[in-house]
Symmetry: C2
Subunit: 126 residues, 2 copies
């Protein structure tokens, strides 16, 4: 595998049913923890910390299969998603579609982020 | 949309039937050309040049839908893929699965790269 200059690879997360849920970044430790625990872990580039998807929300991702691309610099993880992947409440982070009038929201929310994460700017939306 | 320090966003390419085919990178010009022509264009980080997927192989990707993620720093493109996406001959670039013995190839090739791209190191495998 080829990690980038920051020690990361992009990780595409796909629901077992087909929809692409999100794109995150993994370092070698996130990958090791994901394979060891069966729960998807990422490296947060903004917080510079490891995190387990769902650690505050309970919306975990159980790993079903991990794939590597031809260049060895991207991975694809097929998962079983609890409730929803996106911190906005949507099932997928890709809930906006390009239209001639700009980006348009096309998916309903599955949960209320304020109820799940709490309010306030310090709320940890993971 | 938020492009990174190099002016790029990762672009996940998904076949209309569901499989994730590849991950590429787009700058604003690749995005403009993709939306204008309906053919998916990328920015090659290694060659530092724009390219149209399939420009040498004919294995083009017709854009069906473009989606943006919650953070605005990744896009998902649903496409109609001609023949196969990967320059190795596989339908998807993600043709290797993680196993306890390492990465294992699990997909048959759809075409012979030497026939499509020619032989030799200078062959342009696009």
């Amino acid at each position: 595998m080829k990690f980038d200059a920051h020690g990361l690879v992009p990780a595409v997360i796909q629901d077992e049913g087909g929809p692409v849920l999100m794109l995150g970044y993994m370092n070698s430790e996130a990958m090791r923890l994901t394979l060891k625990t069966g729960r998807v872990h990422f490296w947060s580039r903004s917080r510079k910390a490891l995190w387990c998807k769902g650690e505050t929300s309970g919306h975990t991702q159980r790993l079903l299969e991990m794939r590597l691309d031809c260049d060895g610099d991207a991975v694809l993880l097929k998962v079983q998603q609890e409730v929803a992947a996106c911190h906005t409440g949507h099932r997928s982070c890709f809930y906006r579609v390009q239209t001639p009038e700009g980006w348009k929201e096309v998916e309903a929310k599955r949960f209320d982020p304020a109820r799940v994460y709490g309010k306030g700017r310090g709320a940890q939306r993971r």
